[in-house]
């Protein structure tokens, strides 16, 4: 009797300008406001607004039987506030229905967990605050950037109070196990692990409009039948919200599909829609899952190679996180905010040089002509940030001042 649990990822990074070496020391405006606004509005009109409207209709029509969840990054929320408040309003309307669960993630959609636990915690707390402020919800379920996950993450967010954490149901860690069950992460006590059923989720997110796919064309009734044929506690359909209208354009019939899906699914008495929280609350773990090495939902490998696979990415990430202590000691909110916006995982994604099957996905929203160009812009920006940081005075707390005085 599996539940269907939808969760949609909503994110936009602050993309960098083509920042040249000559801008260093001259120009502290790192971001391409024009581009960011353009993209925000484009995605709003193709995806956010029409899909939110459809979701709202479906929620109302099915009177509580249709439920979904979102995780919206802080950077996306800020951009909605700046460029398209209508989008924010539509998410707020959805939150008010009581059928929409908001999840937590790092505010800046970063890989901080891998590099600085302190920074990670701060970013998550910032996100919690923002969600409370905008949607009046306190998230109970956590998902890390790009579903980056391992046992250690589960333990850490359990200690922060979350009841469940999401991850990719990657074959290489599941083995023969099914993603349709709730699991207990190794080393934790109470937190529940919900795994994406990548086959069914990707059928919609990636294969929907592939005419040479054996499931094509995917209609709502066909898909509902597939869902009904599943065993287990839950079918976790985690995907990028831009599937609706952006990755899959309106003319593929994706909105039609979405519109008819609740109706078709609810024809089966064994199926029902649940939010991730509800799935966690109503199920006991079917077993323990020991995932020591980090996994993600990216590319074929489902690992970190999309962001850390080459030397440019590694040096860029190193550069960012090596500044943490110094930049925090300045206690300058402007510098801090800039530094944090530079942690967004997309910046490193743009530097990826894997050019084969997955390469095309990387290029789609890459604001640069090549990964090399994105690295050059990023490193030039880092140079400028470092310069500004070095010019800014360190601000010590009273205790630190006394300590330094005594040591003198």
């Amino acid at each position: 009797m599996p539940a269907i649990s939808f969760y949609f990822q909503v994110h936009q990074p602050f993309r960098l300008r083509k920042y040249s070496v000559f801008d260093i020391g001259m120009n502290s405006d790192y971001f391409d406001h024009k581009k960011n606004e353009e993209v925000a509005n484009k995605v709003a009109s193709k995806c956010y607004l029409p899909t939110n409207s459809l979701m709202l209709d479906l929620i109302r029509k099915f009177d509580g039987k249709f439920k979904i969840a979102y995780s919206i990054s802080g950077t996306a929320l800020e951009q909605f506030e700046m460029y398209n408040p209508r989008v924010l309003e539509s998410f707020q309307e959805l939150a008010k229905t009581g059928c929409v669960e908001m999840l937590d993630e790092t505010y800046y959609h970063s890989l901080a967990f891998l590099y600085s636990k302190d920074e990670f915690k701060e970013q998550v707390q910032m996100h919690t605050k923002k969600i409370k402020e905008l949607f009046g919800q306190k998230p109970q379920v956590f998902r890390n950037t790009e579903l980056v996950y391992n046992n250690e993450l589960a333990k850490f967010v359990e200690n922060m109070g979350y009841k469940a954490v999401l991850a990719e149901g990657a074959e290489h860690v599941l083995g023969w196990k099914s993603p349709n069950f709730v699991y207990k992460p190794a080393g934790t006590k109470n937190i529940k692990l919900l795994l994406k059923n990548y086959k069914l989720a990707d059928d919609v997110a990636f294969r929907f409009s592939s005419s040479n796919w054996e499931g094509y064309p995917l209609t709502a009734d066909k898909y509902a039948a597939w869902l009904a044929a599943n065993q287990g506690q839950t079918i976790n359909l985690f995907m990028d919200y831009e599937t609706f209208g952006e990755h899959q354009w309106a003319d593929t019939g994706i909105f039609n599909f979405l519109e008819n899906l609740p109706k078709e699914a609810l024809k089966y008495p064994q199926l029902e829609f649940k939010t991730p929280s509800e799935v966690a609350d109503s199920n006991q773990p079917a077993g323990e899952l020991d995932i020591h090495n980090v996994i993600s939902w990216a590319d074929i490998e489902r690992d970190l190679s999309a962001w850390t696979g080459n030397k440019m990415q590694q040096s860029a990430i190193q550069e960012v996180y090596s500044m943490e202590k110094e930049i925090k000691s300045r206690k300058d909110p402007v510098l801090l905010e800039a530094w944090r916006k530079l942690q967004t995982s997309d910046h490193f994604y743009y530097m990826c040089t894997k050019w084969f099957a997955d390469g095309d996905v990387h290029k789609y929203f890459n604001p640069y002509d090549s990964p090399y160009d994105s690295y050059i812009a990023f490193m030039n920006v880092m140079s400028d940030l470092r310069k500004r940081m070095n010019l800014a005075p360190k601000r010590f707390s009273l205790f630190e001042k006394i300590k330094n005085f005594i040591r003198r």
């Binding site: 030397k311 040096s315 090549s370 990964p371």
Partner: protein
Amino acid sequence: MVKVLMFGWEFPPMNSGGLGTACYGITKSLAEKGVEVLFVMPQRPGDAVNDEEMRIIGVNTTVKIRKVDSMLAAYMTSESYKKALKGNASSIYGPTLFQEVKRFAEEAKKIAKEEDFDIIHAHDWMTYEAGLNAKKISKKPLVVHVHATELDRTGGNAVHQYVYDLERKGMTLADKVITVSNYTKNLVQKHYAIPKEKIEVVHNAVEINNNIAASKLTKKDKVVLFLGRITLQKGPDYFVKAAKRVLELDPDIKFIVAGHGDMEPKIIEEVAAQGIGDRVLFAGFLQGADIDKAYQLASLYVLPSVSEPFGITPLESLKNGTPVLVSRDSGVTEVLRNCLKVDFWDVDDMANKMYAALHYPALHEELKNNGVEEVKRITWGKSASKLLNIYQRVIAKT
């Protein structure tokens, strides 16, 4: 198997730059596929002429060479022809380039009568007339291979009308036009009024060499290389402007300009005027192993061309383990992804990218490693396969 009468240049190339290299690469690969190539080339006095020789160019691969006594050479202009004629005045040669081209074309009639072949392949404008004569005599189809156009060479200014006319005549009357890039294909369509169905693209490539030297970026070597003809088309003036800009940020960088050309005096002057004379070395015309050494010595190779139909040199640089910065107005960017690209006129961006390649080791390393890998897949074998396919289709039509 297919027999080709090919009008080409120096074999193997010593002085003829990209054109000679391309002819050699193509011919060798075709021969390796079993194509019988009769390679006709102009030969300066002093060398044996009108000898047919079988030249061995690989294992079990030979090419028949036929030399024609002529003053023609790759990349010649009316001016350079007159200069060359001074030392070799003889009543055989035409007094002007135009007339020498015609005379060479007459010689081609003789060859066409004597030899047996299925198709004619003419490389570069100076041989188109010869190709057309051979076609007339033999009734066999003609393929003209556009390695460059008068528009590339002159940037559209002061086009030599007779060259343009010959180029256009060759392209119009040939059975098929081959260009070395889509960039050139578009140019030919637009400016020579050739329908796009008649034009096919066969990208150039680079000889595979298994010993690629390890080029290390140390604090000491920050060397940027320009290697090519010092002429308008190649953008040496943009190179100098960018060099000046970069040196403002890092006075430690060194620049090498290798090559000769009509703009050389002007560039030397410009370098001095900019006050960077001590940072720029004019190495002159390099040949053979010296070319590879130059690439290996450099940390970055730059192709700042204003209009480059293909551009084999970036591939040669990568073959030697040195990453490249390439003008977007070049055909090679259609097949090479792992490089830095720039608009030749954007001097600040060129300087920005030069600086980055020299100062960010991770960037240098990734460009190098990925570029080296990519270049291994850009082979003359692939070009030759395409050509063979074109030959077969053209022959089948006639």
